[in-house]
C-alpha cells in the first residue's frame, strides 16, 4: 500500500481545511449541483461567464478533504479561463485521476495549471475516492451545459 501522505498531501489538507472561493455567487450566469449518492456529499458550483471566459467561479457544499480540496483547486485554476480551456483541463485531469490516457496534449499555459492539480492524482491508487476528486468537475460541466441541473456520480 502506498503511503497515505501521497493521497493527503499538505496542499490537499490545506485546501480541505481552508477552501478557497467557498462562497455563493449571488447572480451566477451558470450553476449546478453535484451529488455523490455513495457518501451523500453535495457541492454547488457557481460560474459567471463573460462571453466564453470564466470571470468568476465559486462553490459551496459539504464533503471530504479530497472533494473539498478538489473543488477549491478547481476554482483557483479556472478563473479567467475559456470554456474550451476548462474542458481541456477536465479531460486531462480525469485521465490522470483514473489512470487513463489523456485525450489531447495541453497547451503550455494549461500545463502549468495542470501541475497545480497534480497533488489530487494520488486518488488513482484509491478507486473508491476517484469520484471525490471529480465531483466538482462534473458539476462544473453540468453548469456550463445547462444551468440548475444536478449531476450524480453514480
Amino acid at each position: 500500500m502506498m503511503d497515505l501522505r501521497e493521497l493527503y498531501q499538505d496542499i490537499i489538507l490545506d485546501h480541505g481545511r481552508h477552501p478557497r472561493n467557498f462562497r455563493k455567487i449571488e447572480h451566477p450566469t451558470h450553476f449546478a449541483q453535484g451529488y455523490n449518492p455513495l457518501c451523500g456529499d453535495r457541492v454547488t458550483i457557481y460560474v459567471t461567464l463573460d462571453g466564453d471566459r470564466i470571470s468568476d467561479v465559486s462553490f459551496q457544499g459539504r464533503g471530504c478533504a479530497i472533494s473539498t480540496a478538489a473543488a477549491s483547486l478547481m476554482t483557483e485554476v479556472l478563473r479567467g479561463k475559456s470554456i474550451a480551456d476548462a474542458r481541456a483541463l477536465f479531460a486531462q485531469f480525469h485521465a490522470r485521476v483514473t489512470g487513463g490516457e489523456p485525450a489531447q496534449e495541453l497547451t503550455e499555459p494549461l500545463v502549468e495549471e495542470m501541475d497545480r492539480l497534480e497533488p489530487l492524482t494520488g486518488v488513482k491508487a484509491y478507486p473508491a475516492r476517484v469520484k471525490c476528486a471529480t465531483l466538482s468537475w462534473h458539476a462544473l460541466e453540468a453548469a456550463l451545459k445547462g444551468s440548475g441541473a444536478t449531476v450524480k456520480t453514480e
Binding site: L4, L38, G40
Partner: protein, 430 residues
C-alpha cells in the same frame, strides 16, 4: 463444530473430522482464541475488523460445512425420489428447525427462508400489505430505520394509498416512546421497527413497542438485523407478529435470510412470488398454493445458504447467546469509555442503551477521510449514512464513522481503533 448430520448418505465410513472440530470453545469464550476459528484473520494477520454490523466474518465451520454439503450431499430439494435429494431436503429442513429454535418460534412452518432482511420486509409489504391494508390505513415506523424498513412501505403507500407515519426520536437518539404512543391511531395496522438501530446501535424497547401496538390493535414487524447476532431473541416472549433477520450478519453465508411470521398470519397471506416449490397443483385455469412456509419460497431456494445458516446458528448456540450478549455489552462499554477520551469525538446516541455499534462524528474530519486513514492502520470500519439517510438528516449529519463488534473482537481491537483515530486527528487537525 462440524455437525454430524453433514455426512454423505452414500458413504460407507464416516467422513474424517473437519479441521473445525475440536475447536474447544467450551463455555464462555475468549475472543483471542475465537479469532482462530475465523480464517479471515489468519489470512489478514493485521486486520482489526470492526464492520460486523455490515456483515460478519465466517467461522471455519460455516465455510467448511457449506463446502462439505456441496461435496457430499448436494442435490435439489423436495420431490426428489432418489436418496441424495431426500438427504438434501432433510438438511435444508433441518436448517429450518434450527432457525425455529434460534427464535423460539412455536412452529417450524412459521420460518420462511428469504434472501435477506430486505426481502423479508418486502415480502410482508407486498403480500400482507395489499391483502390487509386499505386506503387511509397507517403503517408506523420510526426515525431510526434502515432504508430497507422505509422504502418497501413507501412503495406500498404509492400502490395502495396507505399513510406512512414516522415516530420521532428524542434529542439523545433513542425512540421517543410517548411520541410513538401518540402516533398510534385507530388506523394504525402495522408497526414496523428496528430492534437495534444499525446507524447508532440504539437498543429499542421492542417489548414496550409490541405491547403498545397490540393494545391499539396493530400488528408488529421487528427488523432484527442487528439484534439477532447480539441478543437472545424469543419471538413468543416478545409477542411480535413478524421478525426478520439476515444470515450474513449472524456469521452465516450471504444470500440467505429469515422471515418469521405467526402461522395464522402467514396462512392468510397470498403468495409473494409465483413458480415452482410454492404450488400444490397447477392448471392453466387455476393454481392451488402450498401452505406456509413453502408458499413463500418459489423456485429453487438457496439450499447451501440455509444449511450454512444452520451451521452458523449452531456456532452461536455453542458460544452461548447470553455469553455473546455479555461480551458485546462489556466491549461496547469499553469502547464508549475509550472513545470518550478522544478530543472532538462525539458519540451518537450518548446516554442511550446501545449494543455492539459505536457511531461517531470526529470534529473537523469527514467520515470518509477517517475511514481512509483507519484503513491505513488496518482498522476496517464503515463511513457514510449507513443506509439511514433520514436519521442522518435528523441528526444534522451527512454521515458518521461506525465501528461495530463481533464475537471475535476484543479490547485490543478497540485500543487499535482509538490509536488510529488519534493519528487521524494528528493528520487533519493541526
Amino acid at each position: 463444530m462440524r455437525p454430524a448430520s453433514l455426512r454423505s448418505v452414500y458413504a460407507e465410513a464416516p467422513t474424517p473430522p473437519s479441521p473445525a472440530s475440536g475447536g474447544g470453545l467450551g463455555t464462555g469464550f475468549n475472543p483471542r482464541e475465537l479469532k482462530r476459528e475465523f480464517p479471515i484473520f489468519a489470512n489478514n494477520p493485521d486486520l482489526v475488523f470492526l464492520d460486523s454490523a455490515a456483515s460478519a466474518q465466517k467461522p471455519r465451520s460455516v465455510i467448511d460445512g457449506t463446502a462439505e454439503y456441496y461435496r457430499t450431499d448436494y442435490a435439489n430439494v423436495h420431490r426428489g425420489v432418489y436418496r441424495l435429494s431426500a438427504r438434501s431436503t432433510e438438511l435444508y429442513e433441518e436448517a429450518r428447525d434450527k432457525v425455529r429454535r434460534f427464535l423460539n418460534a412455536a412452529d417450524r412452518r412459521e420460518i420462511v427462508f428469504v434472501r435477506n432482511t430486505t426481502e423479508a420486509i418486502n415480502l410482508v409489504a407486498q403480500s400482507w400489505g395489499p391483502a390487509v391494508l386499505r386506503e387511509g390505513d397507517e403503517v408506523l415506523i420510526s426515525e431510526l430505520e434502515h432504508h430497507s424498513n422505509i422504502v418497501p412501505w413507501q412503495l406500498l403507500r404509492d400502490r395502495t394509498g396507505i399513510r406512512l407515519v414516522v415516530a420521532p426520536i428524542e434529542a439523545t437518539g433513542g425512540l421517543d416512546l410517548a411520541a410513538f404512543e401518540a402516533r398510534l391511531s385507530p388506523r394504525t395496522r402495522l408497526v414496523a421497527m428496528t430492534h437495534i438501530a444499525n446507524a447508532t446501535g440504539t437498543l429499542v424497547p421492542v417489548e414496550r413497542v409490541v405491547a403498545l401496538a397490540h393494545r391499539h390493535g396493530a400488528k408488529v414487524l421487528i427488523d432484527g438485523s442487528q439484534a439477532a447476532p447480539r441478543l437472545p431473541v424469543d419471538v413468543q416472549a416478545l409477542g411480535c407478529d413478524f421478525y426478520a433477520f439476515t444470515g450474513h450478519k449472524v456469521y452465516g453465508p450471504t444470500g440467505i435470510g429469515v422471515l418469521y411470521g405467526r402461522f395464522e398470519l402467514l396462512s392468510a397471506m397470498p403468495p409473494y412470488q409465483g413458480g415452482g416449490e410454492m404450488i400444490l397443483h397447477v392448471s392453466f385455469d387455476k393454481t392451488e398454493y402450498q401452505e406456509p412456509p413453502h408458499r413463500f419460497e418459489a423456485g429453487t431456494p438457496d439450499i447451501a445458504g440455509a444449511i450454512g445458516l444452520g451451521i452458523a446458528l449452531d456456532f452461536i448456540e455453542e458460544l452461548g447467546r447470553e455469553n455473546i450478549l455479555e461480551h458485546e455489552e462489556a466491549l461496547t462499554g469499553y469502547g464508549v469509555d475509550r472513545l470518550a477520551h478522544i478530543r472532538g469525538l462525539r458519540l451518537l446516541g450518548a446516554g442511550q442503551r446501545r449494543l455492539g455499534i459505536l457511531s461517531f462524528d470526529l470534529d473537523g474530519v469527514h467520515p470518509h477521510d477517517v475511514s481512509q486513514v483507519l484503513d491505513q492502520h488496518h482498522v476496517a470500519v464503515r463511513a457514510g449514512h449507513h443506509c439511514a439517510q433520514p436519521l442522518m438528516e435528523r441528526l444534522g449529519l451527512s454521515g458518521t464513522t461506525r465501528a461495530s463488534l463481533g464475537v471475535y473482537n476484543d479490547e485490543a481491537d478497540i485500543d487499535r481503533l482509538a490509536e488510529a483515530l488519534e493519528a487521524t486527528q494528528e493528520m487533519f487537525i493541526r
